[in-house]
């Protein structure tokens, strides 16, 4: 029995998922372990936060504005006609806060940061820079993976919040413009207060919890997958673009998969599960 369990354990650990989990745990443990130079880690974390988080804000804000506006524009074709013109706030919660916000931000970070991380680490591996770190007694996970991991998780959360806020603002602007220019919207007297009231009223505890858990989890997924593919490149330059592509594609697949799983609590609350 023990042999069977150890065989299963060994194969789980050697599997792709097992190795991702191991890397994720190693990176998480670096936050509490005293090894290495904390000042150096902090400086690297700040550098990564700037690249992954701050530099992505304009792009996230721009896309959020477009998507928030598009969502309301689509909803506006139906909602006033059925007398639901005051409920645009609810639509924003359903579509943007619960789904599109975290999902779109995760895709954006996976495409932008994930590819950069895989390429950076892959090139370091090919140039033997990672081996060089090992020969100096420097833990590559602590030195390279941990700052990227922590920065991606923090940035993902902040970028998702920014995405949601800007998308809501974009949606509100569209509703206001429509109410001025279109006759169908003349009955819709939507103030910002009412719009926000509707949003907060339609948000439940689960939205709050998942609003934090989802981006953090997606951040973990994107950073661990990207770093795993980067540091596992063979010593062949041709492997770097392959690793980058695999990292991004696998991140996308995992994000969609887990996004579906995160929708299950809502189904359960409606009595479907």
């Amino acid at each position: 029995m023990t042999r069977i369990l150890s065989w299963v354990g060994l194969h789980c650990r050697r599997s792709y998922v097992g190795q991702l989990v191991e890397l994720g745990l190693q990176a998480s443990l670096c936050a509490v372990r005293k090894e290495g130079n904390r000042r150096q880690s902090f400086d690297q974390l700040m550098g990564q936060l700037f690249f992954i988080g701050v530099e992505a804000i304009p792009l996230v804000a721009f896309l959020a504005l477009i998507i928030g506006s598009a969502t309301i524009l689509q909803a506006s074709t139906v909602m006033p006609k059925i007398g639901a013109g005051d409920y645009f706030g609810n639509v924003m919660v359903l579509v943007v806060v619960r789904e599109v916000g975290p999902l779109f931000t995760a895709f954006l970070v996976a495409g932008r940061t994930g590819s950069a991380l895989s390429t950076y680490l892959g090139n370091m591996k090919v140039q033997q820079e990672i081996d060089a770190l090992k020969t100096m007694g420097v833990d590559p996970v602590r030195y390279l993976v941990y700052p990227s991991f922590a920065a991606t998780v923090i940035s993902m959360f902040c970028l998702t919040v920014i995405f949601n806020l800007v998308a809501i603002f974009g949606g509100y602007l569209v509703v206001k413009m429509l109410s001025v220019f279109l006759s169908d919207f003349s009955d819709v007297q939507l103030s910002l207060t009412l719009f926000l009231d509707r949003i907060f009223a339609s948000m439940g505890v689960m939205d709050g919890v998942l609003g934090i858990v989802k981006p953090v989890f997606f951040g973990v997924l994107v950073s661990v997958i990207a770093c795993y593919h980067g540091i596992n490149v063979s010593n062949d330059t041709r492997d770097v673009p392959k690793a980058t592509t695999n990292g991004v594609v696998n991140s996308f697949v995992c994000i969609v998969l887990f996004d579906t799983l995160f929708a299950l609590p809502f189904l359960a609350s409606l009595g479907f599960l």
Binding site: E129, A132, K134, T135, M136, G137, D139
Partner: protein, 256 residues
Amino acid sequence: MSVVASAHNLSFAYPGHETLLRRVNFHVLPGQILVICGLSGQGKSTLLRLLIGLEKPDAGMIRLLGKDIATLDEAGFNELKRSMGFVFQGSALISGKTIFENVALPLVYHNIGDEDEIRSRVDNALEMLLIKDFQHQYPASLSLGILKRAAVARAMIMRPKLILMDEPTAGLDRISRSVLLALIANIRRINHVSMILVTHDLLAARELGGDIGVIKDGELLEPMNFEQLKNCQDSFVEFLFRQLEEEAAMSGDKRA
């Protein structure tokens, strides 16, 4: 006198390939330099990778600074690596860091000394290797000769007892090669550090003055000095010397 590094019946094969190293034996004493020569693909670099723990041997034992590395856990081996330096063939400096930051990296990571001490130690190392003027430049903008010297500076910054070097003179022009060999000899003399140096350059081995071990078909011949090696009756060693003479004749180098 205690042995700094030794290998006993070391064997190794890359997965799916034939055995590369067979029953390799050697030992290095404090301050001694062991030069390992041989043709490409004979396992010279792999031997160094085994010694620093980047590969695991299939059989045999490696003792470094009195410790059997197979018995050490990761933390223990990392601690041991603080007393060792490694110079890669392609320098392997961190591309996103300046020469100064690269050389300071082990000191900073291992929390050795305050900022002033780190600066002073790095400045001394850079001065010793004549590359202080390049300290603020990134590796991509520098020549191979400078990069190799920076890699040597990084390897010696922790004041190691043993430095491993993989083809330090490969790809260098004659002047850069001579300068680097003189600097390596200087470091060894001043710091009394032991060295294991892998090269295909027999002349470099002679200039550094240590014992030379030749790898032949995966086996390491008994290390001996240059003159003894020259008189060695082994057909492979004779072949290496013939190659050396031919190369010297072509390049007009009379030292061979």
